[in-house]
């Protein structure tokens, strides 16, 4: 940190392009003082949480359906496989046409990013539940309609959670894309504005906030997963 400070203030280095930590702290302080920080953080967190919850819940439901019901899979899986590799950021133009600059458009982008990851991992998880467990359950007289709730769901849960955890990261990538698509608040929006004003200290501060948010979300999710997949 000290070396960074010295290097940034040394003869020949440009403090605007490469600000020392003190300027980063100063930029952060101004951000917090103005009251924008709380609003930006809250706006971004809400987008990620709502987008993630929508994308993951629909993803799990569709994954179970296509993983379990061949007929549904024949119809939907090819469509999903074509749509899945398109990066969410590529949808920004069409999202602006469809939803304008509304909040729905932002949520749609995050939903889109999260949904396919969760769908494919749930689909594969459901299809690859240990055959031995399924046979054991059948031999024990488990009726077909209870199979999903009693065996398939739990058997698939560890892999579903890998997909969900990956999606936590994805929801932050798509957040950045979403906040590029015209907005008035948000952590990445603030980074963008600060850059236009050449407030590089705040830009770096914003990046740190983004990193911390994503890191904290990942850790929190991993702790949650340990509770919900209790037998691992």
């Amino acid at each position: 940190m000290f070396i960074w400070e010295l290097a940034a203030r040394a003869e020949g280095s440009n403090m605007v392009l490469f600000p020392p930590p003190t300027l980063v702290v100063e930029g952060m302080a101004r951000w917090i003082e103005s009251g924008d920080f709380v609003i930006d953080l809250w706006t971004s967190v809400r987008r990620v949480v709502v987008g993630f919850l929508l994308g993951s819940s629909v993803g799990v439901i569709m994954g179970v359906l296509t993983g379990r019901v061949q007929l549904i899979s024949s119809f939907l899986s090819p469509v999903f496989h074509i749509l899945r590799p398109i990066p969410p950021i590529a949808f920004i133009p069409i999202v602006i046409l469809w939803f304008g600059l509304s909040e729905t458009g932002k949520l749609f982008l995050i939903f889109w990013g999260v949904y396919f990851m969760v769908w494919i991992s749930t689909h594969l998880a459901v299809q690859n539940v240990d055959k031995g467990l399924i046979r054991a359950a059948q031999a024990l007289g488990t009726p077909e309609h209870l199979m999903l709730k009693e065996v398939i769901f739990f058997g698939a849960l560890p892999v579903i959670f890998v997909g969900l955890r990956t999606s936590v990261g994805i929801s932050f990538y798509t957040l950045v894309a979403a906040e590029l698509a015209g907005t008035v608040a948000g952590v990445f929006f603030r980074i963008d504005i600060a850059q236009q004003n050449l407030q590089t200290g705040q830009v770096l501060g914003g990046l740190l906030v983004l990193g911390t948010m994503s890191f904290a979300a990942d850790r929190a999710f991993s702790a949650l997963a340990k509770k919900l997949v209790w037998w691992r």
Binding site: D130, G132, L133, R135, A136, A137, Q138, A139, L140, G141, T142, P143, L146, E150, V151, F154, L157, W230, W231, R232
Partner: protein, 265 residues
Amino acid sequence: MVQEKPIIDLKKISVIFDTKNGDFLAVDRVSLEVAAGEFICLLGPSGCGKSTVLNAIAGFEPYIGTISVLGNPVFGPGPERGMVFQQPNLFPWRTVRGNISHGPRMRGKSKEEVNQITDDLMGMVGLTNFSKSYPHMLSGGMQQRVALARALANEPKMLLMDEPFGALDAQTRSIMQEHLLSIWTRLNTTIVFVTHDVEEAIFLADRVFIMTASPGRIKSNFSVDLDRPRDMKTLNSQTFLKLRQHCLEEIREESARAFSQQGIA
């Protein structure tokens, strides 16, 4: 007269596997009858189709021919046929109690009944103190005891066991064998037991069916005239040693034939 009827009746059953290299005849016209209360072993080298025969009886493997269990044709798995696999296949998300109670719960027994059955079986397999443990906390032998108790919880008319002790160490295996015999005697059930271990087959069974590989056929069968209850001393009796010798010769002949076939191929 009713007792004369076999509880399991296989008439010329064949199983064909669809492999990359075309159809493969895994089981070739196997016939066998098992009487109620009998303990039979299917003995043979790995890959001889003995597990496939068991899976067909369990209802997991489509077959040609007829299999009837309790006089009814087999179309799929059912709770009257308790199954114990080589892998314990316990539900890792459930405790010992949760695993054992699964069958009765699924079949709509009342809570009191489920608890009663589960308590009894945990006592029978000596796992009462582990009722709240998860499978990954247990040793291989204990896991297999849970699997046995779980199968017995449905009060099945027969047990189908697919090399259940194959993955256990020698000491644990021999204890489990005696344990199984005492449970079999106490419950007066019928057991079809698959193994590649000659001594295990003779020690456990009333009758042993020797199977040969590619295609899987029953080569011969013999009755084991050893007194019950059997224990460690049984393994040194003259009858046991003679049967063992007989078995080994039959299997050896077969292995040699398979070996030379492979050599030509």
